[in-house]
């Protein structure tokens, strides 16, 4: 059924998606908290930047990242100056590209969750001697739990499903950057429809199960406060 290469693309994809999800939560939660609470004039700009990948073709992001991270790009030059390798066509490069690409899928549900808490529970906590950090960890985070879970699932699933940006930055190197979507593409190119069917079917099933689980969760239940 599945070839050895198929299996290695599956594990590589899951590995990539897991790392990206963890990193996205670490980056996305503070960004979402800031966006939910700030009155700064920069809120609009930051929101727009975070949301860009929602509408840009992945190739555009991939193209700019390639220029930025490549040997002649500022980040690429900096990496070389540090004595580190270049990011394009490596697994690490793929992680960085995926972070950009999946960021809005993580930030927006968490931001919505933080916004729906309102200021009252945090004010109450402040009057009960909770420091700003305690208010965040003991009140805001638990109350945004379902939003964070949604964000993690969406971020993971979206990273599993990416194609264009992976092709631009990753370059389709087996065991390094060849993820499931690229493998399917290769199978179709080679007119090997049977193998393509297996992987495509797995992706269909995976995506459906994830979305089904997400929409079945009692996640959008409004938070019930006291009268």
């Amino acid at each position: 059924m599945l070839t050895e290469t198929d299996w290695s693309t599956i594990t590589l994809t899951l590995h990539l998606a897991s790392i990206v999800t963890v990193l996205l939560l670490i980056i996305g939660i503070p960004v979402a908290w800031w966006l939910a609470r700030t009155t700064s004039a920069f809120k609009g700009i930051v929101s727009a930047l975070v949301a860009l990948p929602l509408i840009l073709p992945p190739t555009v992001i991939g193209f700019y990242l390639l220029l930025l991270l490549g040997p002649n790009g500022p980040v690429g030059q900096f990496m070389q100056w540090l004595g580190l390798g270049l990011l394009p066509f490596t697994f690490e490069g793929l992680v960085v590209a995926s972070l950009f690409y999946s960021l809005p899928f993580v930030v927006q549900p968490i931001q919505n969750a933080f916004e729906s808490i309102g200021s009252r529970p945090l004010e109450v906590a402040a009057t009960l001697r909770a420091t700003p950090w305690e208010r965040f960890f003991y009140v805001a985070l638990p109350l945004a739990k379902s939003g964070i879970l949604t964000a993690a699932v969406l971020g993971f699933a979206h990273t599993v499903g990416e194609f264009g940006i992976v092709l631009m930055i990753g370059g389709n190197i087996p065991e390094e950057t060849k993820v499931i979507s690229l493998q399917i593409y290769d199978h179709v190119e080679a007119l090997d429809y049977t193998q393509a069917h297996y992987l495509a079917g797995i992706m269909m099933l995976f995506s459906f199960i994830v979305l089904f689980a997400l929409y079945s969760l009692p996640k959008n239940r409004p938070i019930r406060y006291g009268a």
Partner: protein, 370 residues
């Protein structure tokens, strides 16, 4: 932060411009008892509590409680470092924690009282006062409005505050819940040795609870003082006119079971005044809070012998003043107690009332408010 020269006091002074409303507040409050904050909506009641708590920041001003300065022109103490208990209009329990954990959130952060232990309530007393025990394992959304508010009050008390701020804690409740919580507040008031700022737009609630009254109007202090002093001033705002009068603490001294009446006595022991009021299941020696409104006292020159009114007291006129509604406010002395009567100018002229005259005060009704 500490200024030992300042005596025990509670000062709040600030000016604030907030969404086109100007607040200009200067209060010198007692440091214990219930301080009623009265005013119509938009008068700045909630803003006052938010400024005291630090939830609303101000650029300059002074907030000082006893020897601790919470705010002055150079210094702003963050909210979580102010020793306050804040009870919001809506109970605002943490929805992700059950009752026990809501209370624990407060308890593990409680202030340690530097003074005597008896000025604070312990957990057992708070649970008993507010009947918390049966609610401990429940979730906030399974509680009734009254139960939620009891838990919110308990949570605010468990932080062991030096000031309790209550922002219309009863407004979201129906009549019976209100009565229930009010009786808990009556008990609380007797046991707490800290100032309780109680915001309300209900003069009845304040007559029942407050010792000191602040009247706010359009962001400014219209009147402040002991509740009897404020409610007997001649320039009382029109919306408090109906509440003009005195509130006294009276002791039950006699029962008349045949007519369901009880006799209460108030004022100086040697020279007290006595009133017959309806019996409300008290015991001899109990203390009641009694409100005698100025509009319920009429004045007659000779003692009526055929009146339906039970309470007719011999009194002398101390002062006669015209109030801002063009009514005459007559200050009466009964023994060593002061009562007020509001009558029309025509009646005052007709009876030829003068300071020093002996008259009979007919008290049409006496309200037992707690």
């Amino acid at each position: 932060m500490h200024n030992n020269a300042a005596p025990n006091s509670f000062k709040v002074q600030f000016e604030l411009l907030l969404s086109n409303s100007v607040f200009s507040i200067d209060l010198d409050l007692p440091n214990k008892g219930v301080i009623g904050i009265f005013g119509e909506s938009g008068s700045g009641k909630t803003t006052l509590l938010r400024v005291i708590s630090g939830l609303q920041s101000i650029d300059n001003g002074l907030i000082q409680i006893n020897n601790a300065i919470w705010q002055n022109n150079a210094f702003h103490l963050p909210i979580h470092k102010r020793s306050i208990g804040y009870i919001f209009q809506e109970a605002s329990l943490f929805p992700h924690l059950n009752v026990e954990k809501n209370l624990a959130f407060s308890q593990k952060r409680a202030w340690v009282n530097k003074q005597s232990a008896d000025s604070t309530l312990n957990q057992t007393e708070i649970y008993r006062l507010l009947n918390i025990e049966p609610l401990l394992k429940k979730w906030p959304h399974h509680l009734s409005g009254g139960e939620r508010q009891r838990v919110a009050i308990a949570r605010a008390l468990m932080i062991n505050p030096s000031v309790l701020l209550m922002d219309e804690p009863l407004s979201a409740l129906d009549y019976f819940r209100k009565q229930e919580i009010l009786s808990y507040l009556d008990k609380l008031k007797k046991e707490l040795q800290i100032p309780i700022l109680y915001v309300s737009h209900s003069s009845r609630e304040l007559a029942r609870l407050a010792d000191y009254l602040v009247v706010l109007e359009k962001g400014k202090v219209r009147a402040q003082g002991e509740i009897n002093q404020v409610l007997t001033q001649t320039d009382l705002p029109h919306y408090l006119q109906k509440d003009a009068g005195v509130i006294v603490s009276a002791c039950v001294i006699e029962k008349d079971s045949q007519w369901s009446l009880q006799k209460v006595s108030f004022g100086d022991n040697s020279d007290s005044a006595e009133l017959w009021v309806h019996d409300n299941d008290t015991k001899l020696g109990d203390y009641l809070r009694v409100q005698i409104l100025a509009k319920d006292i009429s004045i007659v020159l000779s003692k009526p012998i055929d009146s339906s009114i039970n309470n007719i007291l011999l009194s002398s006129i101390v002062s006669i003043q015209k109030d801002n509604q063009n009514m005459m406010q007559i200050q009466l002395r009964v023994g060593k107690n002061t009562l007020f009567s509001t009558i029309t100018q025509r009646s005052a002229k007709h009876l030829q009332l003068e300071v020093g005259m002996k008259v009979w005060a007919q008290i049409k009704s006496v309200a037992l408010i707690a």
